[in-house]
C-alpha cells in the first residue's frame, strides 16, 4: 500500500515537471513576440523595436511554475478532498444557515442605508466623496443595470448584447429634454424609462423570430447602431463632443444642489458648502431605484408574466404549445428590461452632468452581461455580489498607490484595470460556471421549497 502511494507520488511529480516544462515552452512561444519584443516610435517617428528578455523570462517562469504547482500539488489536494467528501456521503445542501446568511439581505440593506454617513464619519466630508461616488454610486448603477438586464437574460433567457443602447437612450433623453425644454429630473426620470421601454419594443419586434446567438448579434448590432447614430447625428447630439452642463437633480424641487441658488441645500440647512450632499442625495436616489428594480422583479416573477418569462427561458416550444403568447412575452421582457436601463441612463446623465457616446460602447454591455452571468443568472443577490466584486474590484485598483512602491514610480495600475477585469471574468467563470449564487431555486413550489435536481448535479444544460 505504502509502495503504491509513493510510486503514485513520484509519478505525479514526474508528470508535474513534464507539464510545467510544456507550459513554459508554450508560454515562450506565445509571449516571444508580444512580450519579448517591444515596438515603439523613436524620435523620427519611425517604428523600431528592442528586446525585453527579462520580462519574457518572468512570463515563462510564471507559466511553468504555475502549471507545475497546479498539477503537482493543488490538483491532487483538491481531488483527495473531493474523494473524502464523496466518501463521507453528506450532501452539501443543508438547511442550516448561519445568522449572517439568513439575515444577509437585511444586514446589507441597513449597511447601504448607513453607508454614506459611515463614510463621512470615517473619512470626513471631502474624503468621503470618493467612497460615496466612485464606490457607492458607481457600483449601484451597475447593480441596477445588471438587474434590469437580468429580466431579459436571466428570466426570459433572451441573450441581449446591446443592453447599453437603452442606457444610452435614457441618458440622452434626459440630457436633450432637459436642455431643450427645461424639464426637471423628476419629470424626466419616468419619461426616460418610458422612452427606453418604447425603444425596447421597437428593437424587440424585428428579433422576435430569432433564437439564441442570432438574437445576440442583432442586439449587438442595435447597440452599435444607436452609438453610431449618437456619434454622427451631430446636429442633435453634438457627436463625440457630447452634451455637457446637464442640469442636476433637485430635492423634489424644494432644495437645489447648485451652488449660489437661493434654495441651496447646504445653505438651507446651515451646513458648510460641499459637493458631498449632492453625492449622498444621488446615492439614495440610485439606492431607491435599485430597490424599485428588485421589488418589481420579485413581484413580476410571481405574476403570470414572470412565470411565462421563466417558461420561455426553459423551453420555447413547450411554452408555445401551452398557449403562451411568446410575442407579448418577449416584448414585455425587452420593454421592462429596457425601462430600467432607461432609468439608470437618466440617473447617469444627472450624476455626470455630461454624456457622450464614449460611455455607451459595447464593452459596457459586455460588463453588464458578465455581471449578470457571474452572479448566477436570475439571482438578484448573486448579481449584486458580482457587481460589487467586479466593479468595486476594478475601482479599487485605481486606489492602489502602494503598488507604485513595489513596481516603481512608472507603474500605473489604471492601465491594468481592464486586463485584470477580463482575466477575472475568465477565472470566475472557470471556477464557478454557475455564478456566485449558483443554485437555481424554483419560483413556483408546492407547500415547501425543495432543492431542484439541478442543484445536485454539478452541471446541467440550462
Amino acid at each position: 500500500m505504502a509502495y503504491t502511494t509513493e510510486n503514485n507520488q513520484s509519478g505525479q511529480m514526474a508528470k508535474a515537471i513534464k507539464e510545467g516544462i510544456f507550459a513554459g515552452l508554450i508560454a515562450f512561444g506565445m509571449f516571444l513576440l508580444f512580450v519579448g519584443i517591444e515596438t515603439y516610435q523613436d524620435i523620427n517617428n519611425q517604428l523600431v523595436w528592442r528586446t525585453r528578455w527579462g520580462l519574457l523570462a518572468v512570463f515563462v517562469a510564471v507559466a511553468a511554475i504555475g502549471r507545475f504547482v497546479t498539477v503537482g500539488f493543488i490538483k491532487p489536494h483538491l481531488d483527495s478532498r473531493k474523494l473524502a467528501k464523496a466518501k463521507s456521503g453528506v450532501l452539501e445542501i443543508s438547511d442550516e444557515k448561519g445568522f449572517f446568511r439568513t439575515h444577509f439581505l437585511k444586514i446589507a440593506l441597513i449597511f447601504l442605508l448607513c453607508y454614506p454617513f459611515l463614510a463621512m464619519l470615517i473619512f470626513g466630508r471631502q474624503g468621503s466623496l470618493k467612497y460615496v461616488d466612485n464606490f457607492g454610486i458607481q457600483i449601484l448603477i451597475y447593480v441596477m443595470l445588471a438587474w434590469g438586464l437580468n429580466i431579459v437574460v436571466g428570466l426570459a433567457g433572451l441573450l441581449d448584447l446591446g443592453y447599453v443602447a437603452f442606457y444610452a437612450v435614457g441618458a440622452y433623453s434626459y440630457a436633450l429634454l432637459s436642455a431643450h425644454f427645461g424639464f426637471s429630473f423628476w419629470l424626466l426620470l419616468p419619461m426616460a424609462g418610458i422612452l427606453a421601454a418604447l425603444w425596447g419594443i421597437i428593437l424587440g419586434f424585428p428579433v422576435l423570430r430569432l433564437r439564441g446567438d442570432y438574437l445576440a448579434i442583432v442586439t449587438l448590432a442595435f447597440g452599435e447602431i444607436i452609438r453610431l447614430v449618437l456619434i454622427n447625428w451631430t446636429d442633435v447630439t453634438r457627436g463625440t463632443f457630447g452634451i455637457s452642463g446637464i442640469e442636476k437633480a433637485t430635492f423634489f424641487g424644494i432644495w437645489s444642489f447648485d451652488a449660489g441658488t437661493p434654495n441651496n441645500f447646504a445653505k438651507a440647512w446651515g451646513l458648510p458648502t460641499s459637493s458631498v450632499y449632492y453625492k449622498m442625495f444621488l446615492f439614495y436616489i440610485i439606492l431607491a431605484l435599485c430597490m424599485l428594480t428588485a421589488y418589481v422583479t420579485i413581484r413580476l416573477r410571481r405574476m403570470p408574466i414572470g412565470r411565462a418569462w421563466e417558461a420561455l427561458r426553459e423551453d420555447e416550444i413547450a411554452c408555445r404549445s401551452l398557449g403562451i403568447n411568446t410575442v407579448t412575452t418577449k416584448l414585455t421582457a425587452f420593454a421592462t428590461g429596457a425601462m430600467f436601463g432607461g432609468f439608470a441612463g437618466s440617473f447617469f446623465a444627472a450624476r455626470q452632468g455630461f454624456v457622450s457616446p464614449e460611455s455607451f460602447v459595447f464593452l459596457e454591455s459586455a460588463v453588464i452581461l458578465a455581471i449578470v452571468v457571474l452572479g448566477g443568472m436570475g439571482s438578484l443577490t448573486g448579481i449584486a455580489i458580482a457587481a460589487v466584486v467586479m466593479v468595486g474590484g476594478t475601482e479599487l485598483l485605481r486606489e492602489m498607490e502602494f503598488l507604485k512602491h513595489v513596481f516603481g514610480p512608472d507603474f500605473t495600475p489604471e492601465l491594468y484595470r481592464m486586463l485584470l477585469f477580463g482575466l477575472a471574468m475568465i477565472i470566475v467563470m472557470l471556477f464557478k460556471p454557475r455564478g456566485f449564487v449558483g443554485t437555481r431555486e424554483p419560483t413556483a413550489f408546492l407547500k415547501e421549497r425543495k432543492a431542484v435536481s439541478g442543484s445536485f448535479t454539478k452541471e446541467g444544460h440550462g
Partner: protein
C-alpha cells in the same frame, strides 16, 4: 460606371478580409456552438505578429525581397495565432464545454477584453504605422487596381480553396464534420473530438492571422483595438451568411465588404456601419438563420 467598378473592387478586397475572419467564427460555432468573441482579437494578434516580424526582418536584412518578407509575415503570424488560439481553447473554453450556454460566451468576452488590453499594456496604446510594403498599381482605363488588392484577393482565394479541400476531402475534414453533427456519436466511432476541436481553433486562427497581416498591409497601421470593429463585422458576416456554413461565411464577408464600400461611395461614410448592421437585421427578419444557413429544426 468606372466609379462603380472601382468601388466594387475595393469592396471585394475588404470583403475577402472579412470573409477570412468570418470563417474562423463560423467553424468554431459549427463545431462547438459557441460565439468565439476573442476571434477578432486573434485577428489583431495576427496583425501585430506580422508587424513585429516585419520590423525585425527589415532591420536585420535591409534588402529582403518583398515576397519573402510577406510570406514570412504570414507564416509567423499563422503559427503565433495558432498557438494562442490553441492555448485559449485549452484554458478558457474546454473546461466549460458541456456547461451551460452562456459560460463559454462570458469567458470569450473576458478573453477578448484581456487580449486587447494585453497588447495595449505590452506594446503601447499608440497606433503603429509601417511603411507601405507593396506600392505597385495598375490602370485599366479609369479604374485603378493596386497590387496589394490583387494579392489579397488571390491569397484569399488560394486559402479558401485549400480550406474547402481540407474540410471536404481529407480525413481531418471528415472528423470535423462528424464532430459538428454529433459530438458524442463521433467520439464513439473513434474520432478524437478534443484534437479535432483544437485543430479547428488552430485553423480558424491561422486564417485570422492571414487576414490580420493583410489588413496591416492594406492600411499600413496596427492598433491594439483593431480587433473589435473588424471582429464584429466578420461575425456579422458569418451570421449574415448563416452561421455554421463555410460558403455562407465567405458570401457574408463579401456582401459586408460591398455594402460598406458602396454605401460610403454613394451615401455617407459616417453611416456605413449603420448600413451594415441594418442590413443584417433586415436579412435576419426574413431569413432568421442567415442566407445559406440551414433552418433550425428542433426535435422535442
Amino acid at each position: 460606371m468606372e466609379y462603380f467598378i472601382q468601388q466594387l473592387i475595393n469592396g471585394l478586397t475588404l470583403g475577402s478580409i472579412y470573409g477570412l475572419v468570418a470563417i474562423g467564427y463560423t467553424m468554431v460555432y459549427g463545431i462547438i456552438g459557441m460565439i468565439n468573441f476573442a476571434h477578432g482579437d486573434i485577428f489583431m494578434l495576427g496583425g501585430f505578429a506580422a508587424l513585429i516580424i516585419f520590423l525585425i526582418l527589415t532591420s536585420f536584412f535591409a534588402g529582403i525581397p518583398v515576397a519573402l518578407l510577406l510570406l514570412l509575415m504570414l507564416l509567423v503570424g499563422m503559427l503565433m495565432t495558432g498557438l494562442w488560439n490553441w492555448t485559449i481553447e485549452r484554458v478558457a473554453y474546454r473546461p466549460l464545454r458541456g456547461s451551460f450556454r452562456l459560460a463559454p460566451l462570458i469567458t470569450a468576452i473576458g478573453m477578448s477584453i484581456a487580449l486587447s488590453n494585453f497588447i495595449q499594456v505590452t506594446q503601447g496604446p499608440r497606433n503603429k504605422p509601417i511603411p507601405p510594403l507593396v506600392t505597385d498599381t495598375y490602370h485599366l482605363g479609369a479604374i485603378t487596381i493596386s497590387l496589394k488588392q490583387i494579392l489579397i484577393v488571390v491569397i484569399t482565394s488560394i486559402l479558401l480553396f485549400a480550406f474547402w479541400y481540407i474540410v471536404n476531402k481529407t480525413p481531418l475534414g471528415r472528423a470535423q464534420r462528424a464532430t459538428e453533427q454529433d459530438r458524442k456519436m463521433a467520439a464513439l466511432l473513434g474520432v478524437d473530438v478534443d484534437k479535432t476541436i483544437s485543430i479547428t481553433f488552430i485553423m480558424g486562427a491561422a486564417l485570422a492571422a492571414v487576414a490580420g497581416a493583410m489588413y496591416l498591409m492594406y492600411y499600413g497601421v496596427a492598433s491594439f483595438n483593431d480587433g473589435f470593429i473588424p471582429g464584429v463585422k466578420a461575425f456579422t458576416a458569418a451570421v449574415l451568411g448563416g452561421i455554421g456554413s463555410l460558403p455562407g461565411a465567405v458570401l457574408g464577408g463579401l456582401l459586408i465588404g460591398l455594402i460598406e464600400s458602396l454605401w460610403s461611395a454613394y451615401f455617407s461614410i459616417a453611416y456605413k456601419d449603420v448600413a451594415t448592421f441594418a442590413i443584417l437585421a433586415i436579412v435576419l427578419i426574413f431569413k432568421p438563420t442567415g442566407i445559406l444557413g440551414r433552418p433550425e429544426v428542433e426535435k422535442v
